[in-house]
């Protein structure tokens, strides 16, 4: 069991990483990574929703009729997203205001649906829960790295605090969608071309 958990976690973080290997969840990668703060809250929300929806779907997997499984998963995911939205509005109004429409956008993230479909419907609840958390983290750390560079170059700040100084001319393109494409492509290029050269090596991890 422990071995399995370790294997799932590692594969979700690196060899099967949802963003740079499976290329999932790209819309939100482009949309929220221009400011670090939004990225962090988006990541927390995604980890929460993926983990809980995976757990719930896995617990119900024996009763869910195969032909309507998509409807059921969407229903469960949507419920959790609404739950996150309401809790943020009630207890963290500042954060909720900053995020605006992004919380609702968690539902459109293909990673959640993908994990439910590919993993939670065929595995035990605990494993599915771990899978949800680790794929959420696998998504989050990639986004955080991209957001760090986009905010630094686009606004000259980190977490809203000025770090570079006035000599730096902000690259407006970095905070717009094209900047997200460039950074994501560069990130994938570096990871696949320099750090992990051999695709066979990935499978051994």
């Amino acid at each position: 069991m422990n071995k399995k958990i370790k294997k799932i976690t590692l594969s979700n973080l690196i060899s099967e990483n949802p963003v740079f290997v499976q290329i999932l969840g790209i819309c939100s990668t482009l949309a929220v990574t221009n400011v670090l703060k939004n990225t962090v809250v988006m990541s927390i929300g995604l980890v929460f929703v993926t983990a809980l929806s995976n757990l719930t779907i896995s617990m119900l997997r024996k009763w869910i009729p195969t032909r309507i499984r998509m409807m059921v998963t969407v229903l469960i995911i949507a419920s959790y997203v609404i739950l996150v939205d309401m809790i943020l509005k009630a207890y963290l109004p500042e954060v909720s205001r900053q995020l605006g429409p992004y919380v609702g956008l968690i539902i459109t993230n293909c990673i959640i649906m993908g994990r439910a479909e590919a993993f939670a419907l065929n595995n035990k609840p605990l494993l599915s829960f771990v899978d949800g958390i680790s794929s959420g983290i696998g998504y989050s750390y990639v986004l955080l790295i991209i957001a760090f560079f986009r905010e630094l170059m686009g606004s000259g700040t980190i977490w809203g605090i000025d770090v570079i100084g006035s000599w730096w001319v902000n690259w407006s393109i970095m905070v717009m969608a094209p900047g997200g494409f460039f950074m994501l492509a560069i990130f994938i290029w570096i990871v696949k071309g320099v750090i992990i050269k051999d695709p066979e090596e990935l499978k051994k991890i």
């Binding site: 119900l60 009729p65 309507i68 059921v72 609404i82 009630a90 109004p93 905070v175």
Partner: protein
């Protein structure tokens, strides 16, 4: 030959009706399952909604009150209770002609208008405060906006909001960091549509204020 055929077809018919019955059963099961799981989740969400509703409403009200006082350039009480009390004693809320709230401070000449403008992605709703004696702006604050984060959304940053205090419209905008007179404000580089919307909002507010 004929008999055999008949039997076959009969069997086929029986098989058909069996399959049909099974199919119907499966279909009913699916509908019942979907219905019950939807019911369970909706009930769960309704309870959470009921539980958080009053809190969410209160948070929104407190946010509006803080924004009005910020716009009027009045020190904002720290605790929520003090804010409520201060508001009760010192602020008169009325409904303006365009059916948006308007706030008037007692024992002073300050009025706060609510103005809507069209931003890049959606409506921008702003509080604009005036000193009716001098018709100078006391401040501006945005209570609803969905501009691009990092570009248009910078209108919510302090440097942008603070630049309007004490100025007098109608306004024009100049490139970032170049405003040096009473009727100019800094535009936001890379967010021209948003800047135009802000220009519309402050000028509309000035117009409404001067009309009275």
């Amino acid at each position: 030959m004929d008999k055999k055929k008949e039997i076959e077809t009969n069997e086929g018919r029986i098989g058909d009706s069996m399959a049909k019955k099974n199919k119907t059963a499966v279909r009913i099961k699916m509908v019942v399952f979907m219905f019950s799981i939807t019911f369970v989740f909706v009930v769960m969400l309704s309870f959470v909604h009921l539980y958080t509703k009053s809190r969410i409403k209160r948070n929104e009200k407190l946010f509006l009150k803080r924004s009005v006082l910020y716009t009027a350039n009045v020190p904002i009480p720290k605790s929520d209770e003090e804010l409520d009390n201060y508001f009760k004693e010192n602020v008169i809320e009325t409904v303006a002609t365009n059916s948006v709230p308007q706030y008037k401070l007692k024992n002073s000449t300050i009025v706060v208008h609510t103005i809507d403008g069209a931003g890049l992605w959606g409506v921008i709703r702003a509080h604009v405060g005036f000193d009716t004696q001098t018709s100078n702006l006391t401040g501006i604050d945005f209570i609803k906006q969905s501009e691009t984060p990092g570009l248009g959304a910078r209108i919510a940053e302090e440097w942008f909001l603070e630049q309007f205090r004490g100025k007098k419209g109608p306004f024009t905008y100049v490139p970032e960091g170049e405003n040096d007179s009473d009727n100019q404000f800094d535009a936001i580089t890379g967010a021209t549509v948003t800047t135009k919307a802000i220009k519309y909002i402050v000028n509309k507010a000035t117009e409404i204020n001067n009309a009275k």
